[in-house]
């Protein structure tokens, strides 16, 4: 059963991997890091990617597959009874492409209240985006399900 470090090391073994981290998107805290950061400082990268992940996790437009459209939306301030939440954010992953690389942010679903995602930074020439995306999904699952 892998912990955070094993999970990040496995992510780093993907072709073209330059840096990996596990980040809390509410606070911007890096729970674990491996490899390099694009700005030379993992904590800065964690805080910045957390803002991106938070926007994706919180904006209504990404919140559901259209089931929230129409009049089914509870008005703010009058939440659904009990305030029950689905365990994880509705977004599965985010892919951001730069001139020289890819960033994949994969949300991790836990059975307790949390807000974490895996961030993988890939070299654009050496990385295989499709493969990395699938592997990251598996890693996110293995991290919490063993």
């Amino acid at each position: 059963m892998p912990g955070i470090d094993e999970c990040l090391l496995e992510a780093m073994s993907l072709p073209g991997a330059r840096g990996a981290s596990l980040v809390d998107w509410t606070s911007g805290l890096a729970l674990g890091t491996a490899g390099d950061s694009p700005v030379g400082d993992h904590e800065t990268t964690a805080a910045e990617t957390a803002e991106l992940a938070r926007a994706a996790a919180e904006y209504d437009s990404f919140a559901s597959d259209g089931s929230a459209a129409g009049d089914g939306v509870p008005a703010p301030g009058t939440p659904a009874p009990g305030g029950e939440l689905p365990k994880g954010p509705p977004v599965e992953d985010l892919i951001l492409t730069t001139r020289s690389g890819y960033h994949i942010l994969r949300f991790v679903e836990t059975a307790f209240d949390s807000s974490v995602f895996l961030h993988l930074w890939l070299d654009r020439d050496q990385g295989n985006l499709a493969l990395a995306r699938i592997r990251l999904r598996d890693l996110a699952e293995k991290l919490v399900l063993g």
Binding site: T26, E58, V73, G77, D113
Partner: protein, 252 residues
């Protein structure tokens, strides 16, 4: 950026023990932070049992069986109740959460008890610098969102949303738990969420006008003149007026 000079010294000497402050306790092993607790933040038991990840009995049994040898965390994993990754994510979250409050500026004394350990045991030690840096970063983050710390400790009072204004599901749950008397710390415990995360959401809600921001108490005005001035004012005479003038001059 020194949060606690004593903490730096203890890290340098690779100390093991408990650092006791006004708002919480940090546990060190070989100068690294292995655990933290604060009355302001929910413990791991609350985080793991509230959402139903662990039944309360499962937690209690782990504490009964492994608490004495300080290996509760290890036991939770070895007995199949939790996975390594889950334990690390939850524990690290709880440590940084409690440390934020434990390292809050406080007037009380800071004490260190050498050799004292925590029954939860070691999961993933963090350097004291990382904990201090994160604590300072979190303070700045709160103030950058809404620089009114009065909302952190006051009962959360929701305000009606403006037409078209939306609230995220996580904040909706927070507002639903706000009954007019619960503070952010109470709500965090009730929802099984880290207290800092709840503070941050409360500040965001306050910034959006969806939660009341209590007025900061005004500083009491210092008395301008000695109190006996009022008592003699009904019957003034020259001697008194002179004393009054002298007193005023002395206090200006």
């Amino acid at each position: 950026m020194t949060v606690s000079p004593m903490l730096n010294r203890l890290a340098a000497e690779r100390a093991t023990g408990a650092l006791l402050r006004d708002h919480g306790t940090l546990y060190l092993v070989d100068g690294r932070v292995v655990h933290a607790e604060s009355p302001a933040s929910p413990g791991l038991d609350v985080l793991l049992t509230t959402g139903g990840r662990l039944p309360r009995e499962g937690w209690d049994e782990a504490v009964d069986r492994a608490g004495a040898r300080r290996e509760v965390g290890r036991f939770l994993v070895d007995s199949g109740r939790l996975h390594d990754g889950e334990l690390e994510i939850c524990h690290l979250g709880a440590v940084f959460d409690a440390a934020f409050f434990a390292l809050a500026p406080a007037s009380g004394p800071t004490r260190f008890r050498y050799g004292v350990g925590h029954w939860f045991g070691t999961v993933r030690p963090v350097s004291t610098e990382a904990v201090e840096r994160e604590t300072v970063r979190r303070r700045e983050l709160l103030d950058s969102v809404w620089p009114y710390s009065a909302v952190d400790t006051a009962p959360v009072l929701p305000r009606p949303a403006a037409p078209g204004q939306t609230v995220t599901p996580r904040r909706r749950a927070l507002l639903a738990a706000a009954d007019g008397s619960r503070t952010p710390a109470d709500i965090a415990r009730r929802l099984g969420r880290p207290a800092f995360h709840t503070l941050l959401d409360v500040r965001r809600l306050a910034a959006a006008g969806l939660v009341e921001t209590p007025l900061e108490p005004l500083p009491a005005a210092p008395p301008a003149v000695p109190t006996w001035v009022g008592e003699v004012a009904a019957d003034p005479d020259v001697a008194l007026l002179r004393r009054l003038r002298d007193a005023l001059e002395a206090s200006l």
